[in-house]
């Protein structure tokens, strides 16, 4: 199905990068992004210096990195690489689609500047991935670069679950930036030592920009807790909604795709060059997900330190809770990770009480009308 059937974008194809840029401009208009907000932000592909001229892990370790499509050893590797770049690019444009409507409700002008900056940089990251697709992957790359701009988050067409969830308000945004964007940090770092040099060299500038996105999420949540207008049990429900989707972004526990990506030198472990742990290629996704989990435990601890003393502590949802892929799919667990004793119907009732619903949304809508739900409030 062509989601753009009948629209001006549907008939356009990409021969050169300029063609893709025209599609990008159409996409901005189509999703209703006010480009005047971007000011003097300059869209460009940025490449860092290479960490190493030779492949640093996997079966090709020690051989020169690949700088062109033809240097990639075989079609399977090319296809896997193309797929990694497509998924990365898809998330970048999806997040802008999810967040674009929040600009008008920013709690302060600096928050507005921050979200515009985040959006601009996510667009630039998508631009970076499209640069690779158009310039290095021939016709299929050009086709995939166009498709990055054809799928829509609100039509559930984006490739990964988190990026089809609506980001309804600024609380969602801060949690998304803290936890879902943090998965992005992991993915980018794991690609930053890729055997495909243009991809590896793309990651440094993207990771530097991502640090601001993560900082915006963490600082935003701290400010929400400092203001103490949203009770932590309500906030917990939103963590319960978003964080499991971030766990899923790492992929299946035992993944053949991740195994091959490692073997071919495309994507390593998050801490590949800092750990002495022997690699278990059958558990790569789970290994990285656990590193992510440990980091998030620390972040939630930091957040708990600024909550009001009469508020219950926030808990990072368990890796078993509400999983859509992996070993825990279909299991009944509390958000704290304990097995739920009760019927399926009881479990549905439990979930209804642990997740956002119409009442929590209505409560937040009232809270957001006040000027003091986030610190520091306007004086």
């Amino acid at each position: 199905m062509n989601p753009l059937k009948g629209s001006p974008m549907a008939s356009k194809s990409v021969s050169t990068f300029e063609d893709w840029v025209a599609l990008f401009n159409d996409w901005q208009k189509d999703i209703g992004y006010d480009t005047s907000l971007l000011g003097d932000f300059h869209f460009e592909a940025k490449f860092a210096d290479e960490d190493s001229p030779v492949i640093e892990f996997g079966d090709y370790k020690g051989r020169p990195k690949w700088n062109s499509y033809m240097q990639i050893p075989n079609q399977q590797v090319r296809d896997a690489l193309l797929n990694l770049i497509v998924y990365q690019g898809d998330t970048e444009f999806a997040s802008v689609e999810q967040q674009r409507h929040l600009i008008d409700t920013a709690p302060s002008d600096y928050d507005k500047k921050s979200i515009v900056r985040v959006n601009a940089e996510e667009m630039r990251h998508g631009w970076q991935m499209a640069t690779l697709l158009v310039n290095y992957f021939g016709e299929s790359g050009k086709h995939e670069a166009a498709k990055l701009l054809e799928r829509r988050s609100w039509d559930n067409q984006r490739l990964l679950g988190s990026f089809n969830e609506p980001v309804r308000h600024w609380l969602d945004f801060f949690i998304f930036a803290e936890f879902v964007d943090r998965d992005g940090k992991y993915q980018l770092k794991m690609l930053s030592r890729s055997a495909f040099s243009p991809l590896a060299r793309s990651m440094g500038p993207m990771l530097k920009e991502e640090a601001f996105h993560l900082g915006t999420g963490h600082t935003g949540l701290r400010r929400v807790l400092q203001a103490n207008k949203i009770p932590t049990p309500i906030l917990q429900r939103y963590l319960n909604h978003w964080v499991p989707t971030a766990y899923d972004l790492f992929g299946k526990d035992q993944s053949g795709t991740a195994n091959w990506a490692y073997v071919w030198g495309l994507k390593c472990r998050f801490n590949e060059f800092e750990t002495e742990d022997p690699v278990d290629k059958n558990q790569l996704n789970d290994y990285n997900r656990n590193l992510y989990y440990q980091e998030c435990v620390g972040l939630v601890d930091q957040l708990n330190q600024v909550r009001a003393k009469d508020q219950p502590a926030l808990v990072l949802p368990s890796l078993k809770f509400r999983r859509s892929i992996g070993n825990y799919v279909g299991g009944k667990y509390t958000f704290a990770g304990e097995e739920f004793k009760g019927s399926d119907a009881d479990y549905q009732d439990y979930l209804a009480n642990q997740l956002p619903n119409e009442e929590t949304e209505a409560f937040l809508a009232e809270v957001f009308k006040q000027n003091n739900w986030i610190a520091p409030k306007a004086a």
Partner: protein, 184 residues
């Protein structure tokens, strides 16, 4: 010539691993006062916003705040990073260049504060930068040189040394440079 070009590469490489520590130390000193300004500004410059910034800077200003805010709005309309030429609009308004830059910075955070400490740190790394208070065309050029040096660092700092924070990279680097001067 080769030596002067090489020095910033060598010295900045020593600086990058220290950025997180220097930045957070500087934040401990400055963050609260900074946040009290930046989160309280409206999209358009107002007398109140301008006063907050002047107070933050400890600047003595005896002129009309409304006029200064109107000038700032003209500057915001015309300033295109990294050109700082628009700051010349503030000439003859009774503020110096670092204060004019601060007015711009709080509304356009990509423009770093112009600070003597940060300039000193940059010179220590081999960058040819000057810090001058009077708001003249020549000194605005010096500020643009200072921006270029900070852009050099922004472009080259390896990602593991960029702390997760909600301040723009310009402020992060400038804060670390200021922290470096204060720690030496």
């Amino acid at each position: 010539m080769a030596q002067t070009l090489a020095l910033p590469y060598i010295e900045s490489a020593r600086f990058y691993p220290r950025v997180p520590e220097l930045f957070w130390k500087n934040q401990d000193r400055e963050m609260e006062a900074y946040n009290k300004v930046i989160y309280h500004l409206e999209h358009q410059a107002t007398s109140d916003g301008v006063k907050r910034i002047l107070d933050h800077q400890g600047a003595k200003f005896t002129g009309n705040l409304g006029t200064l805010a109107a000038t700032l709005n003209r500057v915001l309309d015309s300033a295109e990073y990294p050109s700082a030429h628009a700051l010349l609009e503030f000439k003859d308004q009774g503020i110096d260049l670092p204060t004019a830059v601060a007015l711009l910075h709080f509304y356009r955070p990509a423009f770093p504060f112009y600070r003597e400490e940060a300039a000193k740190s940059l010179r220590g790394m081999g960058f040819t930068v000057q810090f001058d208070r009077p708001l003249t065309e020549e000194n605005v050029g010096h500020y643009e040189g200072y921006i270029a040096a900070i852009d050099f660092l922004k472009a080259r700092i390896p990602f593991p040394y960029v702390p997760e924070t909600n301040v723009f990279l310009s402020r992060l680097i400038e804060g670390a440079l200021t922290g470096l001067a204060r720690s030496s």
